[in-house]
Symmetry: none
Subunit: 224 residues, 2 copies
Amino acid sequence: MTRVLLVEDDSTLARALAITLRSRGYDVTVARDGASGIRDASSARPDVVVLDLGLPDMDGTEVITSLRTWSQMPIIVLSARDGQSDKVAALDAGADDYVGKPFGIEELMARLRAATRRAAPRDDEPVVDAGELVIDLAAARVRRSGVDVRLTPTEWHVLEVLVRRKGTLVTRADLLREVWGPAYESQTNYLRVYLAQLRRKLEHDPSRPRHLITEAGLGYRFEI
Amino acid sequence: MTRVLLVEDDSTLARALAITLRSRGYDVTVARDGASGIRDASSARPDVVVLDLGLPDMDGTEVITSLRTWSQMPIIVLSARDGQSDKVAALDAGADDYVGKPFGIEELMARLRAATRRAAPRDDEPVVDAGELVIDLAAARVRRSGVDVRLTPTEWHVLEVLVRRKGTLVTRADLLREVWGPAYESQTNYLRVYLAQLRRKLEHDPSRPRHLITEAGLGYRFEI
DNA sequence: GAGCGGTGTCAAGGATCCGTCAACGAAACG
DNA sequence: CGTTTCGTTGACGGATCCTTGACACCGCTC
């Protein structure tokens, strides 16, 4: 059964949509705000998210960005705002589709079918387990041998980019662009400093790293 | 470069869209009707199709159905008809997205980006398997009989160029230009050194290479 | 079989890159 | 307003890698 996470603060609309979805055979979870939407997405593991942009606690695109840090699950956006820039922002943040209100229920259903149809199974783990290291991408937490490790925002950001592409090489330019922005693509000394700090906090023997691997001349790689 | 097939009979709109798309760096092919659209889709192999439903020769959903018999390429539908049933029919026929006319050009661009972004990871085979040698171009990783082989940046770069054109001859000048730059086109001694190093690391019997083949007087070739 | 062009092999600088440490200043916090 | 935490630099030793030159080898021609 296809699982749908519905993130919608308007309880009337939420109830109506949930009823319709269930009548079509979907398994529906409802979240009332962005924060619980993000939480439920990692716990309930829906096959598709239907997200209202007008949430009380946070901006809708932030929800999308947050989900996209660890998951490729389809996201269909509902919005009363019909401006071009809202659509572009949501889609470029990682949304798969954008439906303006008011919308026809049959159209939404068709877009839902289209989104689930093309969704291919891939590794979408919010929690990455690398032996004594456990990294929860959704909750932004790192545990080493069971105890929480405190990371600074930048340290976390670097680790997140590496873990999201675990096993594959991340070039220095990619890493710098994603964490510090396009203007810093040649500041390779930042990486040296932060990789050293991460290793000191995460590796058993920082001088002989087993997870945060240097590919000399190319970049870095997170190894499980 | 991303290739777009634009199937549109209105020549004014087709020209305007083609200009915009090309200015954004897309490679655009235009088809005037459904039949040639289907033909071009199989010959030009676009990364994404933008399809106007209102075509002179056949119904738009038939075009979608026909494409879907052999391809999963993203299809974005444009349509002046704004009825629910048209949208549902097109989406259920296999379209990925449906944009009603009149549409904003920025919205279409954003939806195009969303469609290609989704499709990107599975479009071509990044892993090359040559018996005991497994080369993962995306992850920048080489395995020989199951164990990782460490390559220096230049070694990797040379191997990458050869593997990308596996089976075909790569001339010395091509190889030197791609790895060291246009100024080094005659430094053929570099190639001798690096090919020898690669063979030492990758070949079972470096003096009798089975994958990194020399084409005397011409260049090199990667054989599977 | 000697000469020759093209190719493979090896080793040794010398340049570059990486890890580490320390210090400074800015920002966050109470 | 003082304290603490972070992010940013710079410097330096050491490891790695690129380059270069010398020499051996092979197939071919004469």
